[in-house]
C-alpha cells in the first residue's frame, strides 16, 4: 500500500526550476532510495515533501491525505521525520535537549525517556555526550544525533538526506545497518544518497533523478546492475 505519493511535482527557487514534474511513490514498509548527482534535486524533493518549500504544482499524498501545502511543523506531526542535509543540529542546545526537541510533540515524560533509550541503543556514543553542546560534536557524531533526534519522533516515514556524508566507513556501515534494522521493525524509509552503491544495496526500490527529473526507477537490485546507473553513479 502506498504511504507516500508524489504526483507531477514542480518546484521553483525563484527562477530556477528545481523539480520538473517529479512523481514517485513510497510503499508502507519499504526502503526507497533517491539517487542522483549534485544539484539534481534530491534535497529539494525531500524539502517539498516536508513542506519547507512549496511546490508550484502537483500533489503530495501521504497516508491517503493530501499534504501538498502543509507547513513543515504540521507535516512533522503527521509522522514524517526529515533528517536534513548537513545535519542541522541545534548548536547551542545540549545533546539531550536536541533529542528532546525531536519529541517536541510528545507530552509524556516517560515516553520521551523510552524513546531516548532506544536512541542510545542505536547510538551508544550519544549517551556519553548528553551534556555537550550539539555544535561542538564532530561531524559523525552530529549525524548520529540528527538521526537520533528524528527517531525521537517515532515517525512512520523517515526521510534521510545523505546520512553517510562525511562519515567514517565503519559508521556508514553502521548507519546503513541501522536503517535496515529500523525498516525491519516496520519503519518506512525514503533515503537520499550520493553513495548510490550502498544505498541501492539496502533499498527495495530506487529512483534516479537528474536535473530535476526522474529518469529511471526500478528495484534496488536492478538498478545496481543497470549499465547507465553504473556508469553515472557507481563509477
Amino acid at each position: 500500500m502506498s504511504l507516500l505519493r508524489l504526483e507531477d511535482i514542480n518546484t521553483f527557487y525563484g527562477g530556477i526550476h528545481a523539480l520538473k514534474g517529479v512523481s514517485l511513490e513510497v510503499n508502507e514498509g519499504e526502503i526507497v532510495t533517491l539517487i542522483g548527482s549534485n544539484g539534481a534535486g534530491k534535497s529539494t524533493t525531500l524539502k517539498t515533501i516536508s513542506g519547507q518549500v512549496k511546490p508550484k504544482s502537483g500533489k503530495i499524498v501521504y497516508n491517503g491525505k493530501d499534504i501538498t501545502n502543509t507547513p513543515p511543523h504540521v507535516t512533522a506531526l503527521t509522522g514524517i521525520a526529515h533528517v536534513p542535509e548537513g545535519r542541522r543540529i541545534f548548536p547551542r542546545l545540549t545533546v539531550k535537549e536536541n533529542l528532546e526537541m525531536g519529541a517536541f510533540s510528545v507530552r509524556d515524560k516517560r515516553v520521551i525517556e523510552e524513546r531516548m533509550e532506544r536512541v542510545f541503543h542505536y547510538f551508544p556514543r550519544i549517551k556519553e555526550r548528553l551534556q555537550q553542546k550539539g555544535g561542538t560534536m564532530s561531524g559523525g557524531e552530529q549525524q548520529m544525533l540528527a538521526i537520533g533526534r528524528a527517531l525521537m519522533m517515532q515517525p512512520k516515514l523517515l526521510m534521510l538526506d545523505e546520512p553517510s556524508m562525511g562519515l567514517a566507513p565503519i559508521i556508514v556501515e553502521q548507519i546503513f545497518e541501522i536503517i535496515k534494522e529500523l525498516n525491519e521493525e516496520g519503519m518506512t524509509i525514503l533515503l537520499v544518497e550520493q553513495n548510490a552503491f550502498q544505498a541501492l544495496q539496502i533499498a527495495h526500490r530506487g529512483y534516479v533523478i537528474q536535473t530535476g527529473e526522474i529518469v529511471m526507477s526500478g528495484l534496488g537490485k536492478e538498478l545496481l546492475v543497470n549499465e547507465q546507473v553504473r556508469e553515472a553513479y557507481l563509477a
Binding site: G36, S37, N38, G39, A40, Q210, T211
Partner: protein, 430 residues
Amino acid sequence: MKNWLHTIQQNKRLQAIIVGLYIVVTFFSLYLAQKSVVAFLLLLSSLLLLYFTTFSNRVKWLIGGVVMVVLLPLAASQGEAYQSYMEVATLVGIYIAMALGLNIVVGMAGLLDLGFVAFFALGAYTYGIFATGQANNFMPFGHYPLSGESFWVFIFIGCFVAALFGILLGVPVLRVKGDYLAIVTLGFGEIIRIIFNNLDKPVNITNGAMGLASVQPPRLFGIDFMYPSQFYYIVLVILITVIFAVRRLEFSKIGRAWKAVRENEIAAQAMGIHLVKTKLMAFAVGASFSGMMGVVFAAKQTFVDPTSFTLLESITILVMVILGGMGSVPGVILGAALVTILNLQVLTELTNWLNQLSLNGVINVPDALSPAKMQRFIFGVILILFALYRPQGLLPAKNPVFDEKELKDADKLVNAGVQKEVPQNVHLDS
C-alpha cells in the same frame, strides 16, 4: 513595458536623447519655476537616471559633473530659493560622504557601528576649537582664532584626527564581534559626545554645552566663504574625491579583504588576511571621511555644540546606508540623499503645506496632531514602508563583472599542458 525598457537598454543613442531631454526639461523648469522643490529634486534625479544608463563610466562622470558643477547651481541661482537649495545640497553632500564612510565599516567590512557620528564631531571640534578664540584657553603659544585660510589645512587635519581615533576605537573593538560591537561603538560615540559636553572643566577646551560660536569662515584668495552656494563647491570637491577613493578601494585588494572579513572571518584569515589590520583600516578610512566633513560642517554652521552629534544622528547615517543598500556605493549615495532631502526639504515643505491648509481652514486638525509635530511619525512610516518593499536596499550591491576576454588572453602561468588533462565535466548536471 519590459520590452520597451529593453530596447532602451540596447540603444545608447536613445539613452543619450532621453537623458539629455530630461536634463534640459528639468533644468528649465527649475530655472523658471524657482521655488519649485519638485523641479529641484527632478533635476537632481537626473543623476539617478544617468546611473541607469549604459554609458561608460567616464561619460557618466562627465555628464554628472556638468549637472552638479554647472547646471544645478546655475538653474537654482536664478532666484530667491538659491541659497536654501544650496544649503540642502551641501548638507546632502556632507551626509553622503559620511554615509560612504560608514558604508565601508558596516557595508563592506560588516562591522556594525552605532557611534559613527563621533568622528564627525571630532572633525568639527578640531576646526571649531582652533578657528575660534577657544584654543587660547589651553594653548600657550599661537594666536587664536586662526584665520580662515587655515581651513584648507584643517580638512586634512580633521581627516587625520578622525582616522587616528578610528584606530583607537578599533583596538579595543577587535575582540568584540557582531552586535557586541554595535554597543561598544555606541558607547564610544556617547563617550565622545559627553566628553565634549563636559570639557569646559577643569580646562576649558570645548566650551561644554555652550558650544563654540563664531567659527571663522574659510578664506581663499581673500574671499570669505559664507554662503551655502560657496560651501556647495567645497563639499562637491571633497565628495567627488571620496567617491573616487571608495570606488577604487572597493575593487582592490583592500576592498576584497574587507568583504572577505565580512563574509567569513575564519576563512579570511586562512587566506592570509590580517584581521586586526583590515578592520582597523576600515575604521580609519571610514572615519576619515567623516572627519573631513566635520571640519566643513563647523565652518558652514559657524557654530559647534554637542547637540549636533547625538546617537540619533549616528542612527540616521546608519539608516542611510541600510536603506540605500549595504555595501553598494551608488545605493548609499542615493540613500543618504533621500533621507537628507526627506528630512530637510520634503518633510518641512509638507508640514508647511499642511499647516497652510489648516490655517486657511481647508482641513482641520487637532493641535496635538499638528503636522509639524508629526514629522517623526511620517519619517517612521516612510522607513517602515521602504524597508518592507525594498528589503535589499534601494540599489543593492553588485559584484564587479569582468569580461572573459580580458581574463583569458594572457600567456599561461600555470603549465600550459595542464589544462587538457584537467577533467572538464564539473558542470555535469547544470
